[in-house]
């Protein structure tokens, strides 16, 4: 069976949904951030697929930007997490209930 564009896309979708589900089920804030990375990776694959499909390099540029943003986000997220941990000794997001109705 030939590998088509659809195969790649389905793969990306699986990865994306896995990340999405993981984000919802995991309580560990760090793992949640990792799940976001997973989703971004899936997105990157889609960009790559379409860059290939349209023979357009723009997709690759997009992916690179994505790397940077993902890194930045992770950095900031982890920094805040460290700050939270310093005060509260937890990274369980379910414990973050200072702000609620």
């Amino acid at each position: 069976m030939e590998v088509t564009m659809t195969h790649y896309l389905v793969l990306a979708a699986l990865l994306f949904l896995t990340g999405m589900t993981g984000f919802i089920v995991r309580r560990n804030a760090i793992v949640m951030l990792m799940c976001v990375e997973l989703m971004l990776a899936a997105t990157n694959i889609v960009f790559a697929v379409f860059a290939r499909a349209h023979a357009d390099g723009g997709g690759h540029v997009f992916i690179l930007m994505n790397f940077a943003i993902a890194a930045a986000e992770a950095a900031i997220g982890l920094a805040i997490l460290v700050e939270i941990y310093r005060r509260r000794r937890t990274v369980n997001v379910d414990d973050l209930k200072a702000l609620m109705e």
Partner: protein, 655 residues
Amino acid sequence: METHANETLLRWIVLAPLLGAAVIGLLNRRLPRRVAGLLACATVGLSFALSVVVFLRMLGLDPEHRRLTDILASWVAYGNLRIDIGFAMDQLSAVMALVVTGVGFLIHVYSLGYMAHDDGFRRFFAYLNLFIFSMMTLVLGENLVMLFVGWEGVGLCSYLLISFWFDGEANAVAGKKAFVVNRIGDFGFLLGMFLIGVTLLPHLAPGEGAFSFAVMQHHAPLLAPVATAIGLLLFLGATGKSAQIPLYIWLPDAMAGPTPVSALIHAATMVTAGVYMIARMNFLYVLTPTAMAVVAAVGAATAIFAGTIALAQNDIKKVLAYSTVSQLGYMMLACGVGAFAMGIFHVMTHAFFKALLFLASGSVIHAMSHEQDMRVMGGLRRKLPVTWWTFLVGTLAIAGVFPLAGFFSKDEILWKTWSSGNTVLWVIGFLAAGLTAFYMMRLVSLTFFGTNRASEEVRHHIHESPATMTVPLVILAVLSIVGGWVGIPAFMGGGAHFEHWLEPVFAGGHAAGTHGAAHAVHDTTMEWILAGASVAWGVLGLLLGWIVYTRRLAVAEAGRRFAGGLPYRILENKYYVDEAYDGAFIRPGYRLSRTVLWKGIDAGLIDGLLVNGSALAVAVVASVLRLFQNGMVRFYAWSITVGLTVFVLYLSFSG
């Protein structure tokens, strides 16, 4: 429409007392008592004098043109609705004007003495003057609305004067009752006016005021289809003002006011306004036999009904009050059978003798240190000679003893009733006449005969009243004697001047000839028989009353024992009518307003359920919705995915 002579004096007849009232009212304490009293008397006297002047001028006119008008200004002029501030005097209002100002003047003078020591002396005269003003507006009003203005004005003054001694709760309640009951009547009056207005307005020529009496009379045929309704509605107004069944209840209570007030307002003048109004609207009533019949029936019923109640009252003024109600019934009866002139005649004579009776009773009360219960009076004959004699004259007059004033008017009413074929009404009227004589004599007996039953202290203070009080008594007594002579009927060889004088006013009615009086039997013999019978019947009543209440005869004792039982209690309690009204309307109405309307609908249903309830519902929904905001990041993320999934699903199925 015939042209009317202009007469600018009319306005001064009306305005003079208003001026007096205004000056006294505004200056109040700054005005010395004497000046205030004199000013009040002077303005009314001026009114009377002017009335006389105008009356004399009128005499000089051709009977057909005896209608003087004085239009001051336009009051309401909107579209083709025109109501003028204006006065008119014709024969009818001339009579009324003379009576009102005349009797009013006497009572003013009387009050100088009666109220001499009262704190509210000035206020009293201001009110009294205001009353005369209102009454004159009523009487001289050029149109029905002006009449209504006066009508309301006298109602107001009545209210003010009944509750004059507002210290007493009862006085205040009585005043309010009078006003409110009158308002119920006004309700009918207003609707009657509207019906007239609505009927006439589309058909008027420019400049015609729909409510002007002349215009209404002119357009009477237009009113014919609705005359019955108008007549009944206006009559409702009259039952309020003239204390007829079912709205008579206020008048006895109104005796709470100072006695001159009772005399002037609740006997001589104001209460006859209803009769005057109906007489004034005669051109309409003659178009509607139904309304006439109702007027007559109610009048007769009131006459006998009030007469019976008067039998069992112990308050001297209450007896007179019920007597007044009864007499007003006579007047209504007269109007109802088409004898408007006789009604007015009785208004006049009644004004004399009833004012006399009230003032004399006031003199008694004055003497008895404001005691009104007859059971503690007695034997005043000697101590109050002037009062006694004048009172006796009044009693004889009201009992219809020949040749006093009451005889002529009452006898004529009964005759007209008979001659119009209303035998039943005649019987009722006849019985009521006897009752009148009886209870009046009961009053006289209890008050003036026997021995005084008052306490030592009170007895010590008994003295004849000052001249300011006795002089008016004497004048009124004279009038009670001679007042009827202007209307000595033809069968007695008199000129029936009074009737003729009024003829032009009621000519429209007679001409229309749609009611019973038209086929009246002119049977002189019968007239004599009936006159004799009624005199005899009156004398019998007087005698009976005298015997029962002064002579300790066995028969009298038996009668008293019999009457002292249940029937007596019923009468003493006025047939429990007040209680019935209270139970049927006032209490349920109050309870309805309070529990159902206010607490139930207003606070409960609208405010509680709908307004605050919906606010609460929103708050509850909001409180539930906020629970979703639980602070859980994962839940937030989940809701995002769900929202998105729904969106995507929607797209895939609709696309």
